[in-house]
Symmetry: C2
Subunit: 216 residues, 2 copies
């Protein structure tokens, strides 16, 4: 009976409510306040408490979804911005360096990321699978020399978190310079010669300003 209907006003209204909840959850995540009553979440989202249960079974589920969507958004952005880079070592480095700049550019998203900690590496979506893929491709292409892929992934995640943590703790620190320094150190850990690592980490990055206007 193929009842394919174009999404109508009802669906859009429903989607708006859901988005309001996820947005509110992301704002709370950014403040590290996940231990709040559902009523506070719905007030922040400016909807009635009752509507909460039309969309999520519990606070935990909402926060899980909120984290997932936030990181998936950034991950897919990194995909698009590195899609036409041939050298997988460069693609990896560009993603890392841009994610380093994320901490200042989108502090709320950065805090969502930091709040995840190393749980990050166990997610099926978001940044981890992409980083893992980048590293594997670079190893297969003979660009990285890494005998332990899992260790490499978790060290990468740790570097992202360490960098973000430091940038928030020290508001005056230069994010670009620190990010590139850490990226260089990671590339060297993955077997690239020092000068090659330095070269890669001083390449131009895509203009994130342009991107924000397209998708953010």
């Amino acid at each position: 009976m193929g009842e394919r209907t174009a999404p109508g006003r009802v669906d859009r209204r429903r989607a708006r409510t859901r988005t309001a909840l996820v947005d509110a959850a992301q704002r709370l995540l950014a403040e590290g306040r996940t231990d709040v009553p559902i009523l506070e979440i719905t007030e922040l989202a400016d909807i009635g408490v009752g509507s909460f249960y039309n969309h999520f079974d519990s606070k935990e589920e909402l926060f899980r979804v909120a984290v997932e969507e936030a990181l998936e958004w950034w991950g897919s952005l990194m995909d698009r911005l590195t899609a036409d880079i041939d050298d997988p070592a460069v693609a990896f480095a560009q993603s890392f360096r841009m994610t380093g700049r994320l901490h200042r550019r989108h502090p709320e998203l950065s805090r969502v990321l930091l709040g995840q900690g190393l749980e990050l590496t166990r997610s099926e979506s978001g940044l981890a699978p992409r980083a893992f893929q980048d590293i594997r491709t670079a190893v297969d292409a003979g660009r990285f020399e890494v005998e332990d892929l899992d260790l490499a992934l978790v060290m990468t995640a740790a570097a992202v978190l360490a960098l973000g943590s430091l940038l928030h703790a020290q508001p005056d620190r230069d994010d670009a310079q620190s990010a590139d320094l850490v990226a260089r150190s990671l590339l060297r850990q993955f077997g690239l010669p020092a000068d090659e690592a330095a070269r890669i980490c001083s390449l131009d990055l895509p203009d994130l300003d342009l991107v924000d206007t397209l998708v953010g």
Copy 2:
């Protein structure tokens, strides 16, 4: 009027209750369950709810103390075990390699550590100040070449956490080998030549079995 009395039975009973609470909190921390009713904590500690408030004002305070005491215990152990090492690079590496082995040897304590995440680096006690001191001493002695002490500290903490996270996720992974591999990578990051880093990370470690019988 100088009422110095030897701690009597009352004080010991009081201390026992407090310790029971802190122990219970550490067990809960190890399971990541800090969001439990106070009643559950006191039942786990096998004391009445009322007694809780004789010792702590809130759950949060109890958990803070529980983390602090756990990490301070391990930190002071590392101090003692590296006290008579002359080369600060070696002292740093020994502490790091032993802490890597902590994840298998004391999984509960390890989970307390992992639960802290990079907050770790902002604590006035525990591992961070010791690691910072080690790194600074090594830099001053010309053993490490590190231009950014804060970055070095946070990368060290991240490496500890990454290693622990991986060891828990992969129970079959060789903890000693992984720890030494990461330690070597850190030493190289801090400017030591590859062969020197490898040598340091294959030195004998103090016998932790003996120590456990003395203090644990």
